[in-house]
Symmetry: C2
Subunit: 347 residues, 2 copies
């Protein structure tokens, strides 16, 4: 199996990407194509002691770089030789089975959409983000691909998210919740009110609405919301966890006994940190595009890249894209019908 | 000054309400009217050693109870003698200067709206919730009163939230952020995109958009969003903080040394808990109604009730309602104009 890696993507340049690729090649026997400026990548390999590409590793030259500040769609159209565009094209031309990028997530999304297209029947691909919870891990989607959504989009996210939790986390009938306010199904905003009544018609294991306070307890395996709310939830959770640790440290430093206490409790804190480390969960796939595309965190280290490559391989192996295509085909009459119904409810 | 208290409101019945009222009477010289079933309240006072109402405390009988599961508007219309309705009416008849309730927040909102009406020019009253941050406290609004909002609502929330931080937290020019995704002002959902360009026209100290990760660092004094997003943010922050503490405890318990360490660090954890305790911040006022109405947490203890009464008194003293009325009157031409402009942008 061959995975294309946007090898200069992310905040730390080539190093974590190349290291992650080397580990995936060694431990998983994956063929990894490093996509990016060839000279830079060769230099990085040389720095790591490789005079030429080691086994399972190849390089595809892609000299352009995406300007993070510019409009992603425009950048992707103008820069055919940007690494992320080349990655998507390798998958499109079947020269790679999947791609992974820790680069600009907006650009990755556009590249995947342009290069791979959508699975038939999918209206809006979504970023499916694994979130650590008290019980284990839940999948939140959409994590930020679509700031404004319609009920039909949320219903499709539920189908795709369930498929992902089945394939990657081996959960036979993943439970699904719609993120809302209040436990009653009559509460929520217009989007939620028009989504919830139809959740039981699409063959997912729907458990009702979940409130903000249920997100991190792991109430449901899949949590569905629009990309605006989803992105705020993800960033808030990340930020709040850091703020709490910073607050604890600030107070510990004021107390000599507490400093000793913190040293003794270090193992417990490390275990929590490990469990809540997003690097473990293999990045966030863009579900709904016609190919496997994984968005990894901009701050990905080699371990995160390794895990993203591993997830990509697993999705290919399990025929994730084919599975969603089959589900969407089977649900086509239902979705066509629902769209009419929801349209009437709104007018 | 007289404050009406929904004395049976909240999850713990009369006890924390009566205790909070007694403290406010003693420490702040506030006159508190306990509103609720008279027999129950007299019994509670007797249990606390008072044969009759102590100084500054009076009772107004209100025998009906609001059914939490029922539709708030209907309940409020049918139950004229429910404590929350009586509270709002006492303020309306000027027999009290403000009211506080830890009861059903939906019912409190409806009671305040029916009983007090809106301040002229305010389209939608909002729940303004103080949130603990790394730096201190920020005010988030709307905390859940309006699940679907228009740009004009968010703009008015910014004006009212700024006035609150000026009056209650003595911040001369509170900074204001619009909660969004991405730092660029061009990102966000349609609501945010149509709100942000007008934020500089309404005389608040606008700092741009803030991301989810900035909420708990205390980036801005006021954070504006719709009530759906706001409620999810509040509940998520509350839930995540609890989940993290539970995770740390779980790991500590597995390690004998860490148990000792946790004992030694106890003071630091207590300080963090104290700083992040929502009970300190005096409840969440419903801003925009024509009177002072404070919603306290359902799980309020006597300390939380005391602080909510204190905040209510402060808002009355500082003429918070008059201040907002003056600001809304001064901004009337601006808001009229903005409404037309935004309408045109949308069509």
């Amino acid at each position: 199996m061959k995975i294309a890696l946007d090898a200069l993507g992310g905040d730390f340049g080539a190093r974590p990407n190349v290291l992650g690729a080397l580990q995936a090649a060694k431990k998983l026997n994956l063929d990894v194509i490093l996509v990016g400026d060839e000279a830079v990548l060769r230099q990085e390999l040389a720095n790591l002691g490789y005079a030429k590409e080691p086994e399972h590793i190849s390089i595809v030259h892609a000299p352009d770089t995406i300007d993070m500040a510019a409009e992603p769609a425009k950048e992707c159209r103008n820069k055919k030789n940007a690494s992320i565009i080349v990655c998507a094209n390798l998958v499109h031309k079947k020269e790679a089975d999947a791609f992974v990028s820790a680069g600009h997530s907006g650009a990755t999304m556009v590249a995947a959409l342009f290069g791979l297209g959508r699975i038939k029947g999918v209206q809006r691909p979504a970023i499916a983000t694994p979130m650590p919870t008290y019980k284990g891990v839940s999948l939140l989607l959409d994590g930020g691909a679509n700031a404004d959504c319609k009920p039909i989009h949320l219903l499709q996210f539920a189908v795709m998210g369930s498929a992902y939790m089945q394939k990657v986390f081996d959960i036979p009938a993943p439970s699904v919740g719609v993120l809302s306010i209040g436990e009653e199904e009559t509460k929520g905003n217009m989007l939620v009110k028009h989504t919830v009544p139809h959740m039981r018609e699409i063959g997912v294991n729907f458990k009702g609405t979940v409130e903000g306070r249920d997100v991190n307890t792991g109430e449901t395996d899949v949590i569905v919301c629009d990309g605006f709310v989803g992105n705020i939830v993800l960033k808030l959770a990340e930020g709040l966890a850091k703020t709490m640790i910073a607050m604890i440290k600030r107070e510990v430093k004021k107390r000599p006994l507490a400093i000793l206490g913190a040293l003794l409790s270090k193992g417990a804190f490390k275990a929590v940190k490990k469990h809540t480390n997003p690097d473990c969960y293999g990045g966030a796939p863009l579900v709904g595009v016609n190919g496997v595309a994984i968005i990894s965190h901009g701050k990905s280290n080699d371990f995160a890249i390794f895990n993203a490559l591993k997830t990509a391989a697993r999705l290919v192996e399990k025929n994730f894209v084919g599975d969603i295509a089959a589900k969407m085909a089977a649900l086509k009459p239902t979705f066509d019908n629902l769209e009419k119904e929801i349209h009437q409810e709104n007018h």
